[in-house]
């Protein structure tokens, strides 16, 4: 349709990205070796999750390929927050790409200390709290996200301390995802990232052992897209003013549009980038083509535009 000029920037209640497509955490190695990823053409980068000190991560094998999916458990291998500030952040700044720093820890204190090390650093636009890290303090190694009180403590402490807006990254298989979302908002989160990888197991029957050393990993890729869409949809229905970054199996412009329609304000691309380094650029182009085709001005105008097939009852939606 003629006459409508498209603009691609998105505003997540004050957190602005020039394009609605970001690189998801853990799928962009470091600014030092970006491979074939063109930093200048990303809406933003969510960093590999940073811990206070360098973390060696899990033993190999760390990955297995499953139908339409990728099962991984890297165990938070990262150079630590200091190395990130010294080596990576300046490179991101030079590329002028908005940086969302993903933070992780095995105790409340670690999350707090990582947050405080990041304060006031230019180039960072937001923090993303990864809650899949093992809670060594109270949770006997279960992820923080398994207990709402721990989610509340961590997200609350980081949000109170941080001068950057804070996004909490939640898994989909929470007993009550909407309640978890409300907990994060009450604790001070600016928004949510939905979803974290889905727990998965791959088995090598021939050798009678799990494929991953972990042995349970996080499933990503197209296999989890419907799960992620449902999570985004449910939370967006309940909390329409809460900024949500949708992530899980997005590999085409069409996939991204589906997330925006379901209620996401922006999307992140992970596994698809490992296969096609140009995926985020192609996805952004795909969104633009869709907007042009429908005569819609911006990605924000797609949000919540999903037309229900029939009047869904409230119970039916949630």
């Amino acid at each position: 349709m003629a006459g409508v000029k498209q603009h691609m920037a998105v505003d997540l209640n004050g957190v602005v990205f020039p394009l609605p497509v970001l690189a998801a955490s853990g799928c962009f190695g470091s600014a030092r070796d970006p491979g074939l990823v063109d930093l200048h053409r990303l809406g933003g980068v969510v960093t590999r999750s940073l811990t206070l000190g360098p973390t060696k991560g899990a033993p190999t094998p760390r990955m297995a390929e499953t139908p339409s999916g990728l099962l991984t458990w890297v165990g938070l291998q990262n150079p630590g927050v200091e190395a990130f500030l010294g080596e990576d952040l300046p490179r991101f700044q030079k590329a002028a790409v908005p940086v969302v720093v993903s933070i992780a820890g095995t105790s409340l204190e670690e999350y707090i200390r990582v947050t405080s090390r990041l304060q006031g650093r230019p180039g960072i636009v937001a923090l993303e709290v990864y809650l899949g890290a093992p809670d060594e303090e109270r949770g006997r190694g279960q992820p923080f996200s398994a207990r709402l009180d721990r989610v509340s403590e961590v997200v609350g402490a980081v949000s109170r301390l941080s001068r950057f807006p804070v996004f909490a990254k939640l898994p989909a298989l929470n007993p009550d995802l909407v309640e978890a979302a409300r907990t994060c908002v009450r604790a001070g989160a600016h928004g949510l990232t939905l979803i974290d990888g889905v727990p998965g197991l791959a088995v090598d029957a021939g050798r009678l052992r799990p494929m991953l050393s972990a042995p349970v990993g996080a499933l990503s890729g197209p296999a989890i897209k419907p799960v992620a869409l449902a999570a985004v949809f449910q939370v967006a229905q309940a909390l329409p003013d809460l900024p949500i970054m949708g992530v899980g199996g997005i590999s085409s412009g069409e996939d991204a549009v589906e997330f925006l329609l379901a209620g996401a304000w922006a999307v992140q691309v992970g596994t698809a980038m490992l296969v096609n380094p140009a995926a985020p650029v192609e996805i952004a182009q795909g969104i633009l083509a869709y907007l042009k085709d429908k005569g819609i001005a911006s990605p924000a105008d797609l949000r919540g535009r999903l037309r229900m097939r029939r009047q869904a009852s409230r119970e039916g939606v949630l």
Binding site: G29, R62, V74
Partner: protein, 290 residues
């Protein structure tokens, strides 16, 4: 590294393996032995990830200039698809990836050890070493005759060649490790290069460490992206100063490593992974011979 749509010039069967030759001048002109390429799977498949193959041949000059050959060992779903592609199809290829083998400056006698499809990268190395005036001897092996890669080519590339197969269908019955001491004695090897199964590499590594033979090995580890992004393909490698170890990516920091610096028992999952660095530190390994 470059990403190209490369036309298949030639696809042929070689024993148990398949050889694919691509027209990929941007990749071929930079490729060195030890490096690899990644090949995308067709988009409609349920298996998504790129597959990784060491570069067997990269021609910069002559009638084959700009071509690149790699070897497929069809054992999984992706490699089986690749074993059936035909000439003139196009593949989405990224390469060259990873660090190449280093060449010795002064030492001349090189023993090259290749097991199974590991020969693809080793034969490329043999050519380059010979072009630098080095003596090349080879020790090759596989499960059976079908899995001994291009034995005639091996003979042509080396001063002497010893062959071992597990079923005895070609050369000696047994493993490469069994022939190693006698081959090193016979050839006066000063430098050892190897590619093959992890258990074989470990055996060669232990032998080389004991004899203080400098060596380099191309390793394989489960790899998702091949471009340094995902951190799944790591190998525990001792730091240069022995102060500890780091999980280095086989795709960007390797696949070629000095095996004396690999913590084999940790890598093979035999030692508890979170063992602290011993108080005396790890042994400091001499750097590559000048």
């Amino acid at each position: 590294m470059k990403r190209v749509k490369a036309e298949i010039l030639n696809a042929k069967k070689l024993g148990a393996y398949h050889s694919l030759t691509l027209v990929a001048p941007e990749v071929a002109e930079r490729a060195r032995p030890g490096q690899f390429i990644s090949v995308a799977m067709p988009e409609d498949r349920v298996f998504l990830l790129r597959r990784h193959f060491s570069i067997h041949q990269a021609s910069r000059r002559g009638g084959w200039a700009g071509t690149l050959e790699f070897i497929v060992d069809p054992r999984g779903s992706g490699t089986q698809w690749l074993a059936e592609v035909k000439a003139h199809q196009f593949l989405d290829v990224i390469g060259p990836l990873g660090k190449a083998f280093a060449y010795p400056n002064k030492l001349t006698n090189c023993l090259l050890i290749a097991e199974g499809h590991g020969a693809a990268t080793i034969f490329f190395l043999a050519q380059e070493l010979r072009a630098r005036g080095k003596r090349v001897d080879m020790l090759v092996g596989g499960e059976d005759q079908e899995h001994v890669f291009k034995p005639i080519e091996g003979k042509r590339l080396s001063q002497t060649i010893a062959v071992a197969t597990e079923d005895g269908s070609m050369g000696e019955r047994g493993s490469i490790g069994d022939l190693l001491p006698s081959t090193v004695e016979a050839t006066g090897a000063q430098v050892v290069y190897a590619a093959g199964r992890r258990s074989t590499l470990r055996r060669v590594a232990e032998f080389c460490t004991e004899r203080q033979l400098p060596s380099q090995m191309a390793v394989e580890e489960q790899m998702a992206c091949g471009m340094g992004q995902c951190f799944t393909c790591v190998v525990p490698v001792i730091r240069k100063d022995g102060s500890g170890y780091d999980n280095l990516r086989a795709c960007t920091d390797g696949p070629v490593f000095n095996p004396a610096r690999i913590l084999w028992d940790r890598w093979m999952g035999e030692a508890p992974q979170l063992l602290p660095t011993p108080p005396e530190g790890f042994p400091v390994v001499r750097s590559w011979p000048g």
